[in-house]
């Protein structure tokens, strides 16, 4: 099992650095080239979410990433340190995220409605993108913070070398 861990200050500029590192490790772990764009975007979204949450609540705390290649999967876990950060709308902080918590985008009619929904948090485009791109997603909240775990298929041979 190959593990890479990364911690970075909650600054928007570092999200790009995180994307670059994750893409490099994913490639090294045997993720197909065609999937690398999806890995980069989904992990970037998760990191952006965490950075925004930290900047509002605990700007001095770093965001943590763990990249793992094992069992034919490349797994990325993005962990923030904001227990109060709402990922699924008001009142839904604890426990596993409810199904469809990115909000029902198709139900949002006009751009005015969508802009309002984005502003008040009932629609989360970032989660929608993660859910749409990651092969497997698990979002959980604990008193320590929120974890977004995503994974994609990888060739075991590449991950082991």
């Amino acid at each position: 099992m190959a593990i890479v861990e990364l911690a970075f200050s909650a600054l928007p500029v570092h999200v790009r650095t995180a994307r670059l590192i994750v893409t490099a490790v994913a490639r090294r772990s045997g993720v197909e080239e065609a999937l690398l764009d999806e890995v980069r975007l989904a992990v970037g979204e998760a990191c952006s979410r965490a950075v925004e949450a930290h900047r509002r609540n605990c700007p001095d705390e770093p965001v943590h990433l763990e990249l793992k290649g094992e069992g034919g999967r490349f797994e990325v876990t993005v962990t923030d340190a904001v227990p109060g950060e709402d990922i699924a709308g008001p009142g839904s902080r604890t426990g596993d995220r409810a199904e469809g918590s990115s909000g029902d985008l198709t139900a949002v009619g006009t751009p005015e409605d969508l802009a309002f929904a984005l502003a008040n948090g009932t629609v989360d485009l970032g989660l929608a993108v993660i859910e749409g791109l990651a092969d497997d997603v698990e979002i959980s909240a604990s008193p320590k913070g929120v974890q977004i775990r995503m994974s994609w298929p990888a060739t075991e041979a590449a991950a082991a070398t």
Binding site: G44, L105, T106, L125, A128
Partner: protein
């Protein structure tokens, strides 16, 4: 890569905004400022050329939705030029293909604008 944002306005009154680079949580404020600035200058018909955009995340999508809201308040429009599959995929995943007019070229967008008049 930093985000480059430039604009010009056609004789027809369409303001074309060319965007080059990565639109993410770090660079999206630059695009937001440009859109706000143009609306403040009375430019309400915007076409964002995304052919040289290398990366777009939900922060960028949010900026585009915000821009659309602003121009709509003045009976304006905000449409896009994009043929890159990896960028179009993000609009499809989020359902925003129903919100934005997306064209394959600036010429096509101009043509459709003339037809609609």
């Amino acid at each position: 890569m930093d985000l480059k944002v430039n604009d010009y306005t056609t004789d027809d009154g369409l303001t074309v905004i060319t965007v080059e680079g990565e639109i993410d949580v770090y660079t999206a404020p630059k695009l937001r400022e440009k859109l706000i600035d143009l609306v403040n200058k009375g430019k309400f018909h915007l076409l964002v050329d995304m052919e040289k955009v290398e990366f777009l995340d939900s922060t960028g999508l949010g900026v585009l939705v915000g821009g659309l809201k602003r121009v709509r308040a003045h009976d304006g429009s905000l449409e896009l030029v994009c043929t890159q599959e990896r960028i179009l995929k993000i609009f499809r995943i989020t359902g925003l293909t129903k919100v934005f007019g997306i064209h394959t070229s600036i010429a096509e967008a101009e043509e459709k604008r003339k037809d609609a008049k």
